[in-house]
Symmetry: D2
Subunit: 215 residues, 4 copies
């Protein structure tokens, strides 16, 4: 790969043209945990991957968020998809979805299971804000900052970051709390996310921010 | 970059998990020309790039589409952005947008200027279907297939492909008629687009499809 | 009520100004059954009403639709509402919603229970197209005409008709298959619906249309 | 009209079932002026009406809002409509729209013309939040309360109130600053709006609220 097409030059090239500005933190964050259901996190699933220690890191962020009384939203998807989605373009593109059936695949990984105070959003497309009322709920709670964890960087994480940004919310992707089944896809999409939609921020910085909110 | 993280393995890895199915062509296409305004296509613009022969190739597709009486939609953006966008996250992330002012930057490149029969959609976010009535218009014309050309692969092209797919429409990105200011960004995003949202198809195949519709 | 403010003059006044045009039937209808869950149709519910014979009439339309292999979508709502909806404006306006809990209130009335081939859409706002992927599903099935039954005329029926129309779909409200807990609210909203969003059509006309599709 | 179907009993009937709760004022309002373009406010327009002193009352609210530094958004529509809207259901229902052409019809009434600090939103459907980025802009400014003036109560005012409420924002319709070409349509829709989507509030109360924000 030539220097002009390396990831580094790609990020720099965009930054030189005024992309990749910082949108920062506001006063009222919400934490999103995207698609940490078994369909994605269990290697036995046809679309699943072993995310190693990432679940432990998300658990740490969740603890900080709970102590700061920050609202927490989990997303997962409905299996099987609707009849229309099976017959239409959705399952023509994602051909394995009709094979996944039942609550055992949509259920969030045990280690980071939602508490009764959290909200689980059933979504049907990559973005957590497409075809859901998540944005309405964020507005009802006067959330101004969306903190994103989960999978996949190249799909639901990126799409959710984009729609959150599009809606006028400060959007933060926590660096080592998002992942992808392909490391190359992860790396490439993190550049675009940081250039275009969200601040990619270290977990330690987010945890300090959450600690400050407790005071 | 290790073999397991090369673009090739990334595409294969996803295909092995049932992504990258084909959604194909329907009977009633529309052609989209995304953001071929001077802000993006004139190297003198702070966010502009020289796209070389790509404009000529888009002109060829436009000819085929006009002969087949296919509806054509151009998108461009309003400069300067709204007051809220300037004060909010939008221009915190895209810091050069407030500097671009006036119709000379939003105007479509002369070589492929819209005709009176075409529709120009003023959009305010990357996706041509976000915050516009483009989807309503496609439905009014009973369009079932969206053919995408223009820029940037890593931004407005990808976002438009995703929202078109999300809305249940067959979505096709014409391979050498979309581009990006960064070749690395182009290459990476074409993989995700083909895996997740649209069929990436050669221009010759699309032109044959348009020719068949004339009969 | 003076003649100039009677429902008749209101409809005429609008028609004279070019409203209330006919949008007609297309070739690919879907049938919507809006909010015929027990929360609305059981007088024991805090927001429920006895709709008398209306359920029987909807059952008749359903039979015609099933014979014509027309896709059928039911909507209902989730009880209790989400935590954000309870804390926010949603349940400040609809104060009884938090009191309704459990599947016994969201379940569709037995007489017109969905079959396995039908789709049940869980919605969270009046319009069946707001915060759901119903529009995506209609597009995936290439639906061009939406036939609406259910309750309430002044709420979810009207809102669904408006959003279906906004999305570019031919929209038909079946006259004696929609209802409201207030007859005055029903009567007034049927005028606006016919003026602005949907053709209000007799059930016999819709059933003939469905019969024609079987051939 | 029997007592059980009078407007009074309709409002009471709903209130008895827990509708019509108050959502109140927040801390960061925006003022919306809906469709006060000449197409609607000039009796010479095919869809126009003389709204008498209402424009003067809106001018008074505008003065209060400007003194309180509250962001102000005007909406108007594009004439002629797009080609797709003319060919599709939109202009099949609103048959006079294709006859209205040019900026003389979309321009806001002189008496309440926007200032350079205000934002004009070009919309294409009744709701000011459908197919626009108005919601994104309200979020960017952290608006929590939407104050609505303009026309028509049975169309764009009601639809905008509904979508603002749906999005989780406190929504207020200012009683004598909204109007309709039909007094009966106005009266009926004000009941539904107050029951379902927004607090209908006297102008004096809103002006006192805006005065308080100046301190």
């Amino acid at each position: 790969m030539a220097a002009t097409t390396s990831p580094e030059s790609w990020a720099d090239f965009y930054a030189d043209r005024g992309f990749a500005g910082r949108t920062g933190f506001g006063d009222h964050p919400a934490l999103l945990v995207i698609d940490m259901g078994r369909a994605w996190t269990d290697p036995a699933s046809p679309i699943g991957t072993d995310y190693g220690d990432m679940i432990d890191r998300i658990a740490t962020v969740l603890e900080h968020a709970r102590r700061a009384k920050v609202p927490i939203f989990y997303t997962t998807m409905q299996f099987p998809p609707t009849k229309a989605d099976v017959e239409g373009v959705y399952c023509q593109k994602y051909t394995n979805l009709p094979k996944i059936k039942g609550e055992q695949w949509s259920r969030i990984a045990d280690r980071i299971a939602p508490s009764d105070d959290d909200t689980v959003v059933w979504k049907h497309r990559p973005s957590a804000l497409y075809g859901t009322t998540l944005l309405s709920q964020l507005n009802e709670l006067r959330v101004d900052t969306v903190l994103i964890t989960g999978v996949s960087t190249s799909g639901c994480v990126r799409s959710t970051a984009e729609d959150s940004f599009n809606a006028g919310l400060r959007t933060v992707v926590i660096r080592d709390c998002v992942g992808d089944r392909s490391p190359a896809a992860h790396e490439a999409n993190m550049i675009d996310i940081d250039n275009r939609y969200a601040d990619v921020v270290d977990r330690s910085v987010v945890e300090e921010y959450l600690n400050r909110l407790r005071r």
